[in-house]
């Protein structure tokens, strides 16, 4: 405890604090502006950290990480475009709430859920990091394959009107996921001898296109829905203690899911958000009201994606294994400072590790303060005439897609998938299954095939491991419950 206080004090020195404010602010802004992503923000900032003191550079990076997980909800709720993969499900309930004139409440709940989720993961990080890191190592290839398969089954949960349309969208996504160099044998697939296609369909430009382009097109056609005005007084934004207390179950389970997913390398914030959204929906007494503006639907993904931050830092700090792109960059920044993360970092530079925890703690507070203070500014977006708003979003999308890998191929990818997304929405095909399949498809393929290499082709490997078996059983139970619900739904309908 003393160490933590000392760490917080270290991180409160003026320089780290200044950069923590800057980092949290940039994280929020990069996540909130459609087209720009946190990954891009980190890439731009990284070269500067090489010339900073270690505590300062970590304050900056942690600030961006934490701020970024909160900022994505702003554009998701206000203009129905998630600014960050972590927020892809936040718009499902957040935007309907905004249309009902409850944008302020939705934003307030999103910010507080982010804050509490992040705090939960920080507590895990400080208290049981080594134990959690050992637990994470139990997740080998078969366990990950089964977990991701469960995630893929959740595609059914995004079928609002038609199950077949959701499945078509998902299968389309899986097909796109096969394009590029295959993850096991490095054989180019469907590349038509174009070198650029070897990198495959990377999901960030796809996400930017799928969500932003349809909104831009409908905005330009004048068919965008204008939101009712709402009070931006701080008192009206803060969720009442009663509201938060009513959400405690959602917050607890989402924080747990988020932290766990964060521990597992190569899964990512989108998975955390989707899993916890689905869990909240299934455990709710009224699951059918999700997707129409339910506070749980905002709280669950936001708590989970913030909780992921602490989770992802655990294997990075204790074992030197990055859990996601942002922690990979942190790892690079730390090693260039001569502070290679690993089991010895806690012993040799314990004070420094606690200063990272300290800056995490401070970043959480800064983020919620900046977000709440900035809310009056953010909502001005709704007053910007569509003729100005949507063209500028379009510009950001092009810049954002390009800057990820300095590649025009990604810009075309963004535009192509944007048009696809527009027509899918027009004909009532949900886009979430498509995106989910593009994110999860390669992870599933890689781990499933790796498992079979490890077992010499024996599929029993998926059933012999208890953790893997549990996920498979959950997936089966889920599919059966969906099937039963559907059939009873149709029966009632035909009777009526």
């Amino acid at each position: 405890m003393d160490l933590l206080v000392e760490g917080i004090v270290q991180a409160l020195a003026w320089k780290p604090l200044l950069f923590a404010v800057l980092g949290s602010f940039m994280g929020i802004i990069f996540a909130a502006i459609p087209g720009l992503t946190v990954s891009m923000g980190i890439i731009l900032l990284l070269p500067f950290t090489f010339h900073m003191a270690s505590v300062t550079s970590m304050s900056l990076l942690v600030g961006v990480f934490v701020g970024g997980m909160t900022g994505g909800s702003i554009s998701a709720i206000l203009i129905n475009i998630p600014g960050n993969p972590a927020a892809i499900v936040t718009s499902l309930d957040g935007h309907p709430l905004a249309r009902k004139g409850r944008a302020g409440v939705a934003l307030g709940v999103a910010f507080f859920s982010s804050f509490l989720g992040g705090l939960f993961s920080l507590v895990c990080l400080v208290t049981i990091a080594p134990q959690l890191a050992d637990f994470a190592l139990k997740f080998g290839a078969p366990e990950l394959a089964s977990l991701v398969l469960l995630g893929l089954c959740l595609i059914c949960g995004f079928a609002q009107t038609s199950m077949s349309k959701a499945l078509i969208s998902g299968i389309l996504g899986l097909s796109f996921a096969t394009v590029g160099m295959d993850p096991i044998d490095s054989i180019p697939r469907f590349t038509f001898s174009v070198v650029q296609i070897q990198q495959g369909v990377s999901f960030l430009p796809v996400m930017i296109g799928l969500f932003a382009v349809p909104e831009i097109i409908s905005g330009m056609r004048g068919s965008a829905v204008s939101l009712p005005d709402f009070s931006t007084r701080l008192r009206d934004l803060l969720p009442s203690p009663g509201t938060l207390a009513g959400l405690w179950k959602t917050l607890a389970q989402s924080s747990l899911i988020g932290t766990t997913i964060g521990l597992l390398p190569g899964t990512g914030s989108a998975v955390a958000a989707v899993l916890s959204y689905n869990t909240a929906q299934r455990r709710s007494p009224e699951p059918e009201s999700f997707g129409k503006g339910k506070l749980e639907g905002v709280s669950a993904p936001e708590a989970a994606n913030s909780a992921m931050t602490g989770g992802a830092m655990i294997p990075m700090l204790t074992l030197g294994i990055p859990g996601d792109p942002v922690t990979a960059v942190m790892l690079g920044a730390l090693t260039i400072q001569g502070l290679a993360p690993g089991p010895l970092l806690f012993e040799s530079h314990g004070g420094f590790v606690f200063s990272i925890f300290g800056s995490f703690f401070i970043a959480l507070f800064l983020t919620i303060i900046i977000a709440l203070l900035g809310i009056r500014l953010f909502v001005q977006v709704l007053r910007v005439p569509p003729g100005l708003l949507f063209p500028s979003i379009a510009v950001f999308c092009v810049i954002g897609a390009f800057a990820l890998q300095n590649s025009f191929f990604d810009v075309f990818l963004m535009i192509g998938f944007g048009l696809l997304g527009y027509f899918m929405q027009k004909f009532d095909y949900p886009i979430m299954p498509l995106l989910l399949a593009i994110i999860l498809g390669p992870v599933f393929e890689k781990n499933a095939r790796m498992s079979l290499i490890l077992s010499d082709g024996d599929p029993g490997i998926f059933f012999r491991k208890p953790i893997s078996l549990t996920f498979l059983a959950l997936a089966l139970v889920y599919l059966i419950s969906v099937f039963l619900k559907r059939t009873s739904f149709w029966r009632e309908r035909s009777r009526a």
């Binding site: 044998d185 054989i187 390398p265 190569g266």
Partner: protein, 320 residues
């Protein structure tokens, strides 16, 4: 009238700029250096550090730009098609040889001009601390009686080729597992018996006694892990090492190559570069444009032999 004059003046400036030969006072503007891997990784850090140091002598900014994807092929293809005026350069690694021999790039290694080699990186065979194998001969002996699972970054990765070349030299067979980003957790979790990996990724774990680096394929012992023997000390030198350096589009003017050589050979002696090398576990070893092309050709021959023996070049034939 004013506008017309302005247009005229502009036209003159543009015309003037194009008349001056590009080589007259190279470099007259910033140079762009493509790094073919992600920000924050090994290639990025060594590349940026070296470029920063070279700027002092070079006299113009050297701007590092990451063009990652598909094991470096995206960035290599970019440099291949960039204008050969000396203002587009690339930070290459031995991946360019695996990429071309395996047919991932539709040309061979002679499609670029090679300027200089800057660094070497090791490739280590690593086991868990509780593994029964205390040394590389232990592992080789065991591998001769049963099939061990050895992981690497991927099928065509440099780490895999090193492990395969070792197995051919030492005379054993193993089951290769392309672990990708999960290589270190997979070793720690006990899925594989050993991994072939670049030392910086496991150095902290090695020092903490969680894993054991059995041996490293490297030209000489590195001060960051002085007790780890070399492959060559056991008589299994594979002959090729992960190297990084500078290449340019084919036909880049000699003056530009010489100016780059001058700047980067100075960078190889820069104390900041040497300090980073020590921390990151790579070795600075400079070779200029007089010898580097021959070195690349020699490494290519060795790598190609392994690629062909593993049948990895078949994809090229399949495609045609």
């Amino acid at each position: 009238m004013k506008k017309l004059l302005l247009v005229f003046a502009l036209a003159l400036v543009v015309a003037g700029a194009s008349v001056v030969p590009a080589s007259a006072a190279y470099p007259t503007k910033p140079v762009e250096m493509t790094i073919t891997f992600k920000p924050g990784g090994a290639a990025d850090i060594s590349g940026r550090t070296v470029a920063k140091a070279a700027e002092k002598v070079f006299g113009q900014p050297i701007v590092a730009v990451n063009r990652p994807g598909a094991g470096g092929t995206i960035g290599f293809a970019y440099v291949k098609t960039a204008p050969n005026d000396g203002y587009k350069i690339g930070w290459l690694s031995a991946s360019i040889l695996t990429g071309t021999t395996m047919g991932k790039l539709p040309y061979d290694y002679r499609a670029w001009d090679y300027v200089s080699r800057l660094v070497f990186e090791g490739t280590a065979i690593v086991v868990r601390a509780d593994s029964p194998y205390k040394s590389l001969p232990d592992l080789v002996k065991a591998a001769k009686s049963k099939t061990l699972k050895i992981g690497s970054a991927g099928s065509g990765s440099f780490t895999r080729l090193t492990a395969s070349a070792l197995s051919q030299k030492a005379g054993f067979k193993f089951r290769h597992v392309p672990l990708g980003k999960r290589r270190v957790p997979s070793l720690l979790g006990g899925e594989v018996d050993a991994i072939s990996v670049h030392p910086p990724e496991v150095l902290a774990l090695h020092k903490a006694g969680k894993v054991r680096m059995l041996a490293v394929s490297f030209p000489k012992r590195h001060p960051a892990y002085p007790k780890v023997p070399l492959f060559s000390e056991h008589g299994w030198d594979v002959g090729f090492y992960q190297f990084r350096g500078l290449h340019v589009p084919k036909g880049t003017p000699k003056e530009a190559v010489q100016a780059l050589h001058k700047a980067f050979s100075a960078a190889a002696k820069d104390p900041k570069v040497l300090a980073t090398a020590e921390k990151r576990g790579f070795l600075v070893s400079y070779m200029g444009p007089d010898k580097f092309p021959a070195f690349v050709a020699q490494q290519n021959a060795l790598i190609k032999k392994v690629v062909v023996s593993l049948g990895l070049d078949k994809k090229k034939k399949m495609k045609k």
